[in-house]
Amino acid sequence: MSTVAEQAVKPATMAQALTRAMRDAMAEDPTVHVMGEDVGALGGVFRITDGLAKEFGEDRVTDTPLAEAGILGTAVGMAMYGLRPVVEMQFDAFAYPAFEQLISHVAKMRNRTRGAMPLPITIRVPYGGGIGGVEHHCDSSEAYYVATPGLHVVTPATVEDAYGLLRASIASDDPVVFLEPKRLYWSKAAWSPESPASVPGIGKALVRRTGASATLITYGPSLPVCLEAAEAAREEGWDLEVVDLRSLVPFDEDTVVASVRRTGRAVVVHEAGGFGGPGAEIAARVMERCFHHLEAPVLRVTGFDIPYPPPMLEKHHLPGVDRILDAVARLQWEN
């Protein structure tokens, strides 16, 4: 392994940070097991489990048969026996076969047994678009997870958070759906695994950029877009604050509400479809808690309410800087 000094200077990708998080968790805790399709010799189709099988052996890093319900279902059993399975779903849409296991068991087991049988399972799901993937490879399915009590739903937007949040997820005694923004896998930052101190566990949002005119509330793949939009907004005379939720469940209402109360205006941004999407909850909740502070309704800039488009059209679907700025412009500035 590389030394601290090396790590500190070299920029790392989010993919590397995720791999490192699993590696460190496995090294520290022998009950952590990684399982999924192609996670062994291949290291996963995104190479996120690269090298783990070699280091920890096939018993702890297991290429399973090709059956997602089976993967999650057996992970439930393993967790019942005291292991901490980290499950990889190969793509967002290929987690759907495991929905019954997820909803009826993973999310409910602790509650059903009055706390006697918690399930510390981390379900890693590469999600979202922007990588030219064909249908079924680009879904943003967080609405389903968010609406399922008993699950934590976490998604990093930075290299550092990728490490810290994945470590926290694996350490959690509750099941975590860990959504990995595919198109940020290769994003880079100067990062060393020795300093993940800034991630205070699951459930804390972070103000990534302070601003006074309005708040952009976002997470995962849309954070860089929002930061870019905030930069561009300066030309228009808007000073935007950007909040990175990092975890959708638990939802850090206090951080969000404090920001919006300060700015008086908000736009929620995510790739998932708007109708019934997570942004609806955020908008509804913000309006409930900030009603008398709001100068304009909370707006949403989201993916359209359509099946994910083919690669050649995806740029029209994804929330981009212009669409975000258009929404900011609609925040009733002339009032």
Binding site: H33, G73, G77, Y81, R110, A116
Partner: protein, 378 residues
């Protein structure tokens, strides 16, 4: 046999056949007997262990009484619903008794009797069906997974648990129960496949009781028998008379031992019959004839054993009476305890959703607490 030796590889211009492929195992040892295995009423019964059979007899009588008492409790409104196992007691009880202490039982929603036979307090076993808390027991205490309502979904849990135990070096066998209808679910398939690939120490017990609610077996499968499904996973399949408790004991024991010895999983089909309706809420006359039910009465698991044991002098009138008295005592105790209203704390709704309550749940809990206090005041 390697593919190099395949027939038809003779022609001289023919390339050597592909080296990566070869049959992984022979099919023959996986195939079930064409008829259900039986002991009672056959010469095999000569080797019955009297003490064991007396124990089974007592358990069967108790199980039958438990079924009757539970159904009576539905009529008195003390249970919301009860799926009876009258006629299936042999399979239920053998499934529990063949397991050792460290083993795990994965019951379906119907299998409260198996759980009780494994030692679970019947009142705890019945909380789900009574309407108080979903799972009334700590699964780790008796190593009994929660009674599982979504069909076949607990089978992969059994595989994962058995696999985990094996990885940790523990000699644990998981026995998972499912109905004939449940074999049609994708989870059944995935569980058996994972178990076989991992050579996990699991025994899959299918109770083929003829029906999935109203749907008869002929609409559920076209397979020769459900035990034949084992072939497709590369595990042995066994067909057994589910009403013959001695046969159940032998077949299950063999499978448990194979699993414990590292020999991998087994699929067992126990041919039996659901004598009563699907649950007390069901009307079985809509989909089956009295004649069919009557015919199965002649093959009752309790009577089969009683006849065999009395004919062989293993059981006498006093033994029968003793079993019945014990069963009555169990029923009386169950009745009495079930007649007490359970006390539930509504605030428990929020106590176990997560290890740590989320802010949103805390808010909701406060709302409910305020409502309850307001009610108390009124």
């Amino acid at each position: 046999m390697t593919v190099q030796e395949l027939p038809g590889a003779g022609a001289s211009h023919r390339a050597t056949p592909p080296p990566a492929w070869r049959p992984r195992t022979e099919a023959a040892p996986l195939l079930p007997d064409p008829e259900p295995y039986r002991v009672l009423g056959t010469p095999a019964a000569d080797r019955l262990d009297p003490a064991l059979m007396r124990r089974y007899y007592a358990e069967l009588v108790r199980g039958r009484r438990y079924n009757a008492q539970a159904t009576a409790l539905t009529r008195q409104g003390r249970l919301a619903v009860y799926p009876s196992t009258v006629g299936q007691e042999a399979a239920e009880i053998a499934a529990a008794l063949v397991l050792e202490e460290q083993d795990w039982l994965f019951p379906s929603y119907r299998d409260t009797l198996a759980a009780v036979a494994r030692g679970l307090d019947p009142v705890q076993a019945l909380t789900l069906l009574r309407g108080d808390w979903h799972t009334g027991y700590d699964p780790r205490e008796h190593r009994i997974a929660p009674l599982c309502t979504p069909l076949a979904t607990q089978l992969p849990h059994a595989v994962g648990l058995a696999h985990a135990a094996r990885l940790r070096g523990d000699e644990v066998v998981a026995l998972a129960m499912v109905g004939d209808g449940g074999t049609s679910e994708g989870d059944f398939h995935e569980a058996l496949n994972f178990a076989a690939v991992w050579q996990a120490p699991v025994v899959f017990l299918v109770q083929n009781n003829g029906f999935a609610i109203s749907v008869p077996l002929a609409k559920q499968t076209a397979a020769p028998t459900l035990a034949h499904k084992a072939v497709g996973y590369g595990m042995p399949g066994r067909l057994v008379d589910g009403n013959d408790v001695a046969a159940m004991h032998e077949v299950l024991t063999e499978a448990v031992q194979r699993a414990r010895a590292g020999g991998g999983p087994t699929l067992i089909e126990a041919v039996t019959y659901r004598m009563e309706a699907h649950t007390n809420a069901d009307d079985a006359t809509r989909y089956r004839s009295d004649a069919e039910v009557e015919a199965w009465k002649a093959h009752d698991p309790v009577e089969l054993l009683e006849r065999e044991l009395t004919a062989r002098g293993i059981l006498d009138a006093a033994g029968i009476q003793e079993a019945r008295d014990a069963a009555e005592a169990m029923a009386a105790n169950l009745r009495e305890r079930m007649n007490a209203d359970p006390v539930l704390d509504p605030m428990d709704l929020f106590a176990h959703v997560y290890a740590e309550q989320t802010g949103q749940l805390r808010e909701q809990a406060e709302l409910l607490r305020a409502e309850l206090e307001a009610e108390d005041d009124a």
